[in-house]
Symmetry: C2
Subunit: 736 residues, 2 copies
């Protein structure tokens, strides 16, 4: 059993503040993710004010998708209104070229407030630059900041602050027909290629002191330039306000900016804080005895909070959150399986939004099924707006030959449709929001079942309904037959049809019959009744192991490290025809994910045997992997096996220890599914929460953790759960 | 429409003699194949007497399989009893190092007689070496030869002739525990690794003149050394006789060799000629107006004759004939589909042997099916003795990475089982040998049908029986669904079950019922009745094209040459994840093969449209390809399209223009399936022979061909068919 260790660095983390000291050029990209702020419609990467596209600055607009030529379709980045450049005595200050004697970047998780303080030494003058920023939660897309400068000697200071319209893109440029305006505010306007959406970024500043300033333009930047003589040890600077519009009326944006300027930084921040305080009231989890676990989990929850769709009903959460264009800014099964549980406990409106997104996507899913010659709903592997699948047939590059690799995520990873149904059922069971069935969820269920009926095959001699030619969660083994996980989902989906058929026959038979008639669903319904019991479910073999798919047991046995040592290039993609394809090495939890999602169907002994069998064969090459092992680790009574896997999930965006490349493709960014998985491990694993009619717990705390406490929203009531080593309490508490 | 051109060299070929003049080191390997002699149990490559393993000398023992360690299992090569080394005035003569002023190697197709004449210039002395050899058709494994030497000046001559036991192997060494004996004859004995088979090679010579000689041993050669002073312009030399034993009694071999020596070269050759004369009586095809086509086709037929299994009932023909260890000396579908038609017309005993081989292989085929979890008979892709599948999961090497490539020939190319049934039915329909059904052929049919029933799947919503996850004949596209060819074979096999069920219900119901009971075949039979009409048969699309497999039409359009230009290494394997995998470029005839094999089911218009669609997309990277296009070319009334494809098939082993490497694997050798395909094109294409109750022809002669004439054995009668541009005749003739 391999163990993950926790670095000293992780142990030094404070309770609410994530902080990094010292300047390290190699961490610029990682810090962009680590110190991300924003919300589901606006991501601002944790880069310095003086950075440009080279340092992966991004004012990211999730869900505003655009495609240039035949490049990958992805969400766009807007022009950067945070750009500020400082010269002291005519010399530009930048940590990339200047002498830095102190540098600290910190994120206050409580309010999503980023704070960057850098001390430079310039010809014996100490200069301190201190910037703060937050994405204003009281508005749709607005950023508020504070920028301070002080020197320990008198000096001449030049500040240039404005909008950098040279945008970092993976597959751009997306914004063209650029217009600049200097009044009433600095404004840069551009238009997306595909849908001609109008993107506007506006900015203004309020200087602490009155300075003469002029608007200049240089290096694709529209800037306010001011120059003054600074006195020793006095603080200069400005408050800054920016708004970003997507197809918004320009006058309204000007008006909005005008109000912000009048309110000022402090007033806006106070309002902003109230929203955050309320979010944390439901979401916070406290861990005692293990500060590192406590802060790491809080950091994970911070990411889930900034991604809450509750203000944007019908939107869902991309796999890389709001951290950039990686993975085409698309929504994967990550959201339904790894994030939804958090929102079900803490923020049911966000949970509902995640479901509504898939209901909205039904037509897209039907179109996708049709494009492959299937009936029903085949949900997108990489889902953009309206369920459009942005996944391509060549999602990886062969680093050895430079050729595109044909991958099968899009066309064979059919479990995604079942994951959507799994989420719908979990949502309804939890929230008792049966109305959503009539609002489209039942149609989603029926169309997914129809797709599964059409995709699966009946094998007459075996009298079985089988599922051939799929990818399971473990993407290293393509086009396998009877993936245990996928087959279990097929049976589940058919079962859900029968369940809600029974439900509606009781509650509203007319609605059900009308829907069946409207969808021409008589025949599928009959066939679902016929095949539901015939779906091939893999049983444990003599050793208690469930074979991941047909003939998995016949694959080559090899140790993970031996496999990795065979690489010719360190970024070699291991799946498909790569090194792992014909071995037992798997990318991520597969059978183990099935055991967790269908935990009621399996004995603990089966979980234990499969955990011990599969874990050493698992690369954990996906951020979806560790948490599933951690959860099963707890269920088999081994929270200390689970603990390092929990920490791996919770800290992935803190440490930056994640894959940055798949083959030749950049895949960096944040990992909200790992964050969700860390939350699940804490609540369902360590605390052992079980949500039936009542709440109950079966605590399995790892050695270092003395207590876990958290709130759970359950059927309209709020409960506080406190779990200690030897006792626990579950108490109803009042809430707003 | 691309055209193959015929080289001047091809045009210069004589009628019965295939001849190459001049020495070219680069052609040594090719000549080894081109000038091959032997029969189905002994192949002797066309190499010079002084050559060794470096020049790929092989005394090949087809069907004597052996495996060393985990290397590929292959037939062995025996010790070489043809080795002869000549010194003149103390200098060794060899075309590799000496000055050659004339060199001619020729093969008399009429008798399988190889003749090699080399004139050397050595210090102003002209020395002529002249060797002849044939594999004695009156015995099981014996070689007879004549070796002559003359100089135009007096000289001292040394001859060393004997057995070279340093054997060329692809995956050897196979022969160990080597023993040498000097009397009564030179003998070398060895033992195979796996089955401990005893291989013995014995040789003796009769010198023209009496010389003193002694037996010596040097460089893994056991040699008779004689030395004498030769007079100017006088011929010296010897007759040589060799026998090769496989588990044979040594005394009997000695006795056999003794008799041969007594009979002498000429007497043996006379007996040998009689056998050949009779073979040609049935087999010869004469083409008038086009000498090149005439000789090329005769050369192709020569190869089919040396491969006739008629003396070795129950044996079948390897894909590379008797030319060496390539393709593991295994039998492929080549034999059933591309060679059997020749034997059905000319030598029905050989045809029967080919069928018996598969009946013998039934148990092996059942074992193979079982190993993959299927019922019934899954015939070997590369079939060795008892139906053992020698194909490995890694049949190709990636030339860029040096890694083994997972190929799917063995586990997914299920059409092989149907090809066997196709051959059985063709044999019975032609020969009316219904007894063979009771001798195991019916059981083969039933078990293949059972396998197909278990392999195929029923798709409920479409109410269709489909065939997923196969390789069709075009091996560049792996793991496809509903390959048109394969599906048609499934339907055919089910249909054959129904056909013989009806036959036996009429003729011998008791036998049939007993067999059904013995095989527990009630349920499969019911299901075959049920699904026979539901098998998904691909229809022509709006443009008349039949899609090779599901979604083939969605693959990338690219020109063959553009694809080839993308290669990084010229021997790159194009299939699987290689360059062709996601394009429409195919290795070989696939839909076109289906159209030919099931020609009664398709209109000529369909054939024409599909020919024009698929031909430009076909690499013809298999020797099975050109002839199918040639046959369909004739059927659509375009014999001039067909002609170059016919010539490509007929001349492949004459010109050596074939792939020598697949990925990193040597695949050289002869191409009897191309030979069979050339024969089929001449008879069924150009002459347009149709064999119903009566024979009939629909001639489609290409421009250059004025007349084709040949014999056909039909229901015990022999017919001579003569086809001219504007008329034809079919006449019964007497035969032995």
């Amino acid at each position: 059993m391999k163990r993950f260790t926790i670095s000293k660095k992780e142990k030094q983390l404070f309770m609410w503040i994530v902080k990094e000291k010292g300047f390290d050029k190699d961490k610029i990209t990682h810090h962009g993710n680590q110190f991300l702020i924003g919300h589901l419609k606006l991501g601002v990467r944790g880069t310095l004010d003086g950075y440009t596209k080279e340092e992966k600055v991004a004012i990211h607009l999730p869900m505003v998708y655009d495609q240039v030529d035949n490049l990958w379709r992805e969400p766009i980045n807007a022009f950067n209104p945070l750009y500020t450049e400082v010269m002291v005595n005519g010399v530009i200050l930048s940590p990339l070229i200047s002498q830095v004697i102190d540098h600290e970047i910190s994120l206050d998780l409580r309010y999503g407030l980023l704070d960057i303080k850098t001390t430079y030494l310039l010809d014996e003058i100490k200069v301190i630059l201190h910037a703060q920023r937050f994405v204003d939660y009281t508005k749709e897309r607005a950023i508020v900041g504070l920028f301070r400068i002080s020197c320990n000697q008198d000096a001449k200071i030049d500040i240039k602050t404005g909008i950098d319209y040279d945008v970092w893109d993976l597959n751009g440029p997306h914004l063209n027909h650029i217009e600049r305006k200097r009044s009433p505010y600095l404004s840069v306007l551009g238009m997306t290629e595909e849908k001609k959406r109008r993107i506007v970024v506006k900015k203004d500043v309020t200087f602490f002191q009155d300075h003469l300033s002029k608007v200049i333009e240089e290096n694709k930047k529209l800037l306010i330039h001011t120059s003054f003589h600074a006195k020793k040890d006095q603080t200069y600077g400005f408050e800054q306000f920016s708004v970003i519009g997507v197809d918004d009326d320009e006058n309204e944006l000007n008006h909005k900016l005008n109000i912000m300027k009048h309110e000022g930084y402090k007033k806006i921040f106070t309002k902003h804080q109230k929203i955050w305080d309320k979010m944390w009231q439901y979401a916070n989890v406290e861990i005692k005895g293990d500060q590192s676990a406590d802060l790491s989990l809080r950091y994970a929850i911070y990411h889930l909070l900034i991604l809450s769709p509750n203000r944007f009903m019908g939107e869902s959460i991309p796999a890389r959150g709001i951290s950039g264009q990686t993975y085409k800014g698309a929504i994967f099964w990550d959201t339904e399986i790894f994030m939804l549980p958090f929102y079900l406990n803490t923020d049911q409106k966000s949970a509902k939004s995640i479901i509504l997104y898939r209901i909205k996507g039904l037509e897209g899913a039907k179109r996708k099924a049709q494009s492959y010659g299937f009936q029903g709903a085949f949900y997108a592997w990489e889902s953009q707006e309206d369920g459009y699948d942005a996944c391509t047939d060549y999602n990886v590059t062969d680093v050895i030959t430079g050729r595109h690799v044909r991958t099968y995520f899009k066309d064979k990873q059919v479990h995604i449709s079942g994951d959507v149904v799994y989420a719908i059922d979990a949502y309804i069971e939890r929230i008792k929001d049966f109305d959503i069935l009539k609002q489209g969820a039942l149609e989603v269920i029926l169309e997914v079942a129809r797709f599964y009926l059409d995709y699966g095959v009946y094998v007459p001699l075996r009298d079985r309904f089988e599922v051939w030619d799929v990818l399971g969660p473990d993407e290293y083994h393509e086009r396998v037959h009877n993936n245990a996980f996928t087959n279990q989902l097929f049976k589940f989906v058919f079962g859900i049809v029968l369940k809600y058929e029974a439900f509606f026959k009781e509650m509203d038979a007319q609605f059900f019959h009308q829907l069946i008639a409207k969808l021409a669903y008589d025949k599928p319904l009959k066939l679902i009744h016929l095949y539901h019991q015939k779906i091939y479910i893999k049983k444990e073999n003599h050793a208690g192991i469930i074979e991941q798919f047909d003939n998995y047991f016949k694959l080559k046995d090899i140790k993970l490290n031996d496999l990795l040592n065979q690489r010719i290039h360190q970024n070699e993609y291991l799946g498909g025809h790569g090194l792992a394809g014909d071995t037992k090495i798997i990318k991520q939890a597969d059978v183990i994910t099935m055991l967790y999602l269908f935990k009621d169907l399996y004995h603990v002994e089966t979980m234990e045997k499969n955990f011990l069998y599969y874990e050493p064969k698992t690369e954990h090459g996906s951020s979806l992997s560790a948490s599933m092992y951690a959860l099963i680790g707890c269920m088999i009574g081994q929270p200390d096996y689970a603990y390092p896997l929990f920490m791996k999930s919770a800290t992935v965006d803190l440490t930056g220890n994640s894959k940055q490349y798949a083959g030749g493709i950049y895949i960096g960014g944040t990992h909200p599914a790992a964050s969700g998985g860390a939350y699940m491990t804490a609540i369902y694993g360590f605390a052992g929460l079980h949500i039936g009619k009542e709440l109950s717990v079966k605590p399995k705390l790892p050695k270092t953790i003395e207590q876990i406490s958290f709130h759970i929203n359950h059927l309209g009531k709020l409960f506080k759960v406190v779990v200690n080593k030897n006792d626990y309490s579950i108490k109803e508490v009042t809430h707003d």
